[in-house]
């Protein structure tokens, strides 16, 4: 329990009336999924793939910026990344973040969700006090959807996932969230971590002026030393190992049906489906 045995600070300590002080947005830069090609060996080729901010994290950022516009405070982003993140993060700074923190450390690449959440929690501890941490409900590359909930547990702060609306009421956060069975409106003590779903907003498109300004905004880089992390302990703690990544074998026939008229095409299709035996209700 070397790393997990602490809390950022008690909820009461951050008690405050109305105005927001700081919102931290967890921003992950991921490969552009539409850009990933599959190699001969069925392995995805990632080397030259463009990077971009995870779409759901952009929406989390947009929420943060909207809250800032309403209640004040500052918006900072936090990323666990590498050299390339410096470029990707400009998009967040153009879209309203005031500053960006990047944990850039070769030793911290390829961690599992357990250790990633530990590292981010350490960084959040360094960024405290904050009112709110926002993130996307998952990152679209690894699809693990664990980081938000893990951070809530490690930092012992309120956890509200799948938000489609966020607002501040007094010194609490009010969130509309969606599960399969119900929609809930909940109120949570601050500090809180909230994950957002795609429907929460449409992120703004930065103006040319904001893109220029972004280049002058502070980008702060941290590594395991600045965070006081033992890389060795982290590696020992890591529980999940990736053995292989392959594209699934798509065994589809890929037959294009052509014809002179739509009716002819439709007839050929029906014929094909009948011989496949998938129209048996009709037969």
């Amino acid at each position: 329990m070397i790393i997990s045995d602490w809390k950022v600070r008690d909820v009461d300590e951050i008690w405050r009336l109305c105005d927001l002080v700081k919102i931290v947005v967890l921003v992950k830069d991921i490969p552009d999924l539409t850009d990933i090609k599959i190699g001969q060996d069925r392995r995805p080729i990632l080397v030259s793939v463009k990077r971009k901010i995870n779409d759901l994290d952009k929406r989390a950022l947009e929420s943060a910026v909207q809250l800032k516009e309403k209640y004040g405070g500052e918006v900072v982003t936090l990323s666990l990344g590498d050299e390339k993140t410096r470029t990707t993060i400009l998009d967040a700074l153009s879209s309203g973040a005031d500053s960006a923190y990047i944990i850039n450390d070769k030793e911290l690449i390829g961690l599992d969700a357990l250790t990633t959440a530990k590292v981010l929690s350490f960084a959040l501890k360094k960024l405290a006090p904050f009112d709110l941490v926002l993130c996307g409900e998952m990152s679209l590359d690894t699809l693990s959807s664990q980081i938000g909930a893990r951070i809530a547990e490690i930092l012992n702060i309120s956890q509200v996932m799948y938000a489609r609306r966020i607002d501040l009421v007094g010194n609490k956060i009010k969130v509309e969230r969606e599960l399969e069975y119900c929609e809930e409106v909940v109120e949570a003590e601050l500090p809180a971590i909230v994950s957002v779903i795609r429907e929460i907003n449409e992120p703004r498109i930065p103006s040319l002026m904001n893109i220029m300004k972004a280049k002058r905004k502070p980008v702060i880089e941290w590594d395991s030393k600045t965070l006081g992390l033992s890389v060795e302990e982290l590696k020992k703690l890591s529980a999940i190992e990736i053995l292989d990544v392959k594209a699934p074998l798509v065994e589809r026939k890929r037959i294009m049906i052509k014809g002179e008229t739509p009716e002819e095409v439709a007839e050929k299709l029906v014929e094909a489906l009948r011989s496949e035996g998938v129209l048996r209700d009709l037969q």
């Binding site: 959807s145 809530a152 702060i157 190992e241 489906l273 998938v278």
Partner: protein, 320 residues
């Protein structure tokens, strides 16, 4: 004796995971536990009695809502009690946040969106899981107990119930006041569209220009006796239909899937990969959907769809 602990608030999903758990428990010579948590668990407990060796119940008034902080305490207590090697949790939205939160509390790893599970020689859990938006499959190993895996509906088949009835272990747990309070709760109109069980699905993508145009699809659907599905933009952005198919929505496995005006993003493709035959109609020659289709038609859905309706009507008439 080792154990496998299975939790989902979704009963169907829990029965599917218990069925898989039974297979793993035979390999591990482990005891199979079903975990049931809530404010009124009686009905749920009765339904899992014939699928497990023991049912652990945690019943408490404070567990009326899906409050992850309070439910986590329940799962952690159950883990302390039976010390399972493997924990399987159903990948509903709530299940996912609960699994991650519990894993953090236990300092354990967790594998989400698993599509296969195996135990290796050392007793570690191996899982294949979807990554890169569903376009690739990663083989992962959990190398420390408890191994936690989170699995969606319809990945594993539900077996027939056993004639053996499980013992019931009641756990009393303390649940402090949660940091999150519910102000309002609206049950969703149980619009069970039956997509997950459907044998034929016809689906709409952004090729549809207006909501009314879905009537064409409804007409085709009534002829085929199929269910109607769609992509995320049609449902989440336009609100034309209640549920979408894809990595973040329903995952389907019909014997026939017909996609109209669907470009075939990898997120959507991940939701239909279990289909037996995929047909797609799209105007765009370069649409990715053709890559994952058995039969493709390059053309306007507004002409192909009516033609298909006409042909099917004719077939039906001559054969009845």
């Amino acid at each position: 004796m080792t154990g496998i602990l299975v939790y989902s608030e979704d009963l169907d999903l829990q029965l599917q995971l218990l069925s898989k758990g039974r297979e793993l428990s035979n390999n591990l010579a482990a005891k199979l536990y079903a975990l049931v948590i809530g404010s009124n668990v009686e009905g749920h407990v009765a339904s899992v009695l014939n699928y497990s060796d023991a049912v652990i119940t945690i019943e408490n008034k404070s567990l009326e809502h899906y409050d992850v902080e309070l439910y986590k305490i329940g799962v952690v207590e159950a883990v302390k009690r039976v010390n399972p090697d493997v924990i399987l949790i159903g990948a509903t939205k709530f299940g996912k946040e609960l699994a991650a939160r519990t894993a953090a509390a236990l300092d354990a790893g967790c594998m989400t969106e698993c599509i296969s599970l195996n135990i290796d020689k050392e007793g570690n859990l191996l899982a294949e899981r979807l990554i890169y938006g569903g376009s690739s499959i990663a083989l992962e190993k959990s190398r420390r107990k408890p191994h936690i895996a989170v699995i969606s509906k319809n990945i594993f088949k539900r077996l027939e119930p056993s004639t053996k009835v499980a013992e019931v272990l009641r756990l009393d747990t303390d649940h402090p006041k949660s940091k999150v309070q519910i102000l309002e709760k609206r049950e969703k109109s149980k619009s069970d569209t039956g997509l997950e069980e459907a044998s034929i699905i016809v689906a709409a993508g952004r090729g549809f220009k207006k909501k009314e145009d879905l009537d064409l699809l409804r007409e085709l659907s009534s002829i085929l006796g199929s269910k109607i599905g769609c992509t995320r933009p049609i449902s989440a952005d336009n609100g034309w239909l209640d549920e979408w198919i894809g990595i973040s929505g329903k995952k389907v496995k019909p014997r026939l899937y017909i996609a109209f005006g669907i470009s075939g993003t990898i997120q959507h493709a991940a939701g239909i990969r279990g289909s037996q035959i995929i047909v797609s109609v799209n105007q765009d020659e370069a649409a990715g959907i053709f890559e994952i289709s058995d039969y493709g038609i390059l053309g306007d859905l507004y002409t192909i769809l009516p033609a298909l309706i006409k042909v099917l009507k004719k077939v039906k008439k001559t054969e009845s």
